[in-house]
C-alpha cells in the first residue's frame, strides 16, 4: 500500500476515501485500525518499515518529526525542545 503512495494520484485517492483505498491491499483489520488511528508507534511495533510509514505520514499531514514525537510519547513541542537546533526542519 505504501509503495502506491509514491504517486500524487494515489495520495489523492487515499485522502478522498481511505477505506476504499485500504481495501485494495491485503491489510488485516488490525493493520487498518492502526492506520485509521494514525497510531505510528503501533504500526512500527507491528513490524512496519519506517520509510514505508513516511508515505502514510506525508499523505496524512504527519511529518517524520510529528510521528517521532508520538513514538517517544511526547508532544511535538516537547520533542522539538530536546533538539540541538530545532529550526532545522
Amino acid at each position: 500500500m505504501c509503495a502506491a503512495l509514491c504517486s500524487p494520484a494515489e495520495r489523492e485517492a487515499f485522502k478522498r476515501d481511505e477505506e476504499t483505498f485500504m481495501a485494495r491491499f491485503c491489510l488485516t483489520e488490525e493493520e487498518k485500525g492502526l492506520i485509521r488511528k494514525r497510531d505510528f508507534k503501533g504500526l512500527i511495533e507491528h513490524g512496519m518499515n519506517i520509510y514505508a510509514m513516511l508515505k502514510i505520514g506525508s499523505t496524512t499531514g504527519n511529518s517524520l518529526y510529528r510521528m517521532g514525537a508520538q513514538m517517544r510519547g511526547e508532544s511535538y513541542e516537547e520533542f522539538l525542545a530536546t533538539r540541538n537546533m530545532k529550526d532545522a526542519v
Binding site: 519506517i50 513516511l54 529550526d87
Partner: protein, 278 residues
Amino acid sequence: MARIVGGIGLSHVPSVGPVVDRGRQTAPAWKPLFDAYIPVRSWLEKLNPDVAIVVYNDHVAEFTFDKYPTFALGAADRYPIADEGFGTRPLPEVPGDAEFSIHLCEELIAAEFDLTVCQELGVEHGFLVPMNLCFPHTASGWPVRSVPLQVNVIQHPLPTARRCYRLGQALRKAVSSYKEDLKVVVLGTGGMSHQLQGKRFGFMNEKFDQWFLDQLEGNPEALAELSHHKIMEEAGAEAVELIMWLTMRGALSPKAKRVHRHYYAPMTTGMGLITFEE
C-alpha cells in the same frame, strides 16, 4: 585508463532537499551544513571528475519489499527524479554513463558481486541530497555524470560491513580496468548516528560518529569488523547506513589523504562529512 581521484563520505538527510529547492541554505539552522561544503565544492572543481559513483540507499521509492536487491547498479544514460511519497522535486534528470556502468557490472559480477542491473532507475533523496551538496545543478543540468549504486540497508538481512568494504575494493579494480580516461569520485552516503523508530526516536551519538570518522581515515579495516548490532546499539537503528561509507573507503587506496572533515547534528541525524584525495 579510468581512475578514482577522490572519495566523499556524507549524510543524506531528506530535509536538505526542500532547503535547496526553496533556497534556504543561508538560514541560521542550515548555514553550518552548507558552509562546510563551500571548500568541498572548490576542491571538486579542481579535481574536475567526469563521473560520480554514488553509493546510496533508496527509501522504498524505486525498490519495494516484494523484490529487494542487496546491491543494485544503475546502467542508464539518464536517471529520472523519483517521487518518494512527498512529490517529485523540481530537479533536472541526472545524466548517467551507461557504457561505463555496463563495464562496472561486468567486472563486479566477474568478481562475484552479483548485482541487480538497472536499466531504468529513478533516484530519490538518498542519491539526490549528496548530489545537491557536492555538485549543485544549474539550468543546464548537473556538472557530472553519475552511476547510482544502491545497497540494502533497510530490510534485514543486510550485507555485512566487510562485504560493503570489499565491494569498494572490487569497484576500484573495475574502475581502473576501464579503457576510457575518466576521472571518478566515489560518494559513500547515509548515516551517521540516527534512529527514526520507536521510543529511541531521535537518538544520536556524536562520540561514536567522531570515532567512526577517525577510524575511516586511519583504520577502515576495524570498521569492516563492526556488526550491524553493534552499530545499531551504539548509534541508532538507521545508523547502519554507515556501512555504505566503507564501500567508498574500500574504493580508495589505504594511503588516500583526508582533506575535509565536518560534523553537524541539529535535529535527529549526525550529519558527517569527510573527503579523501588520491
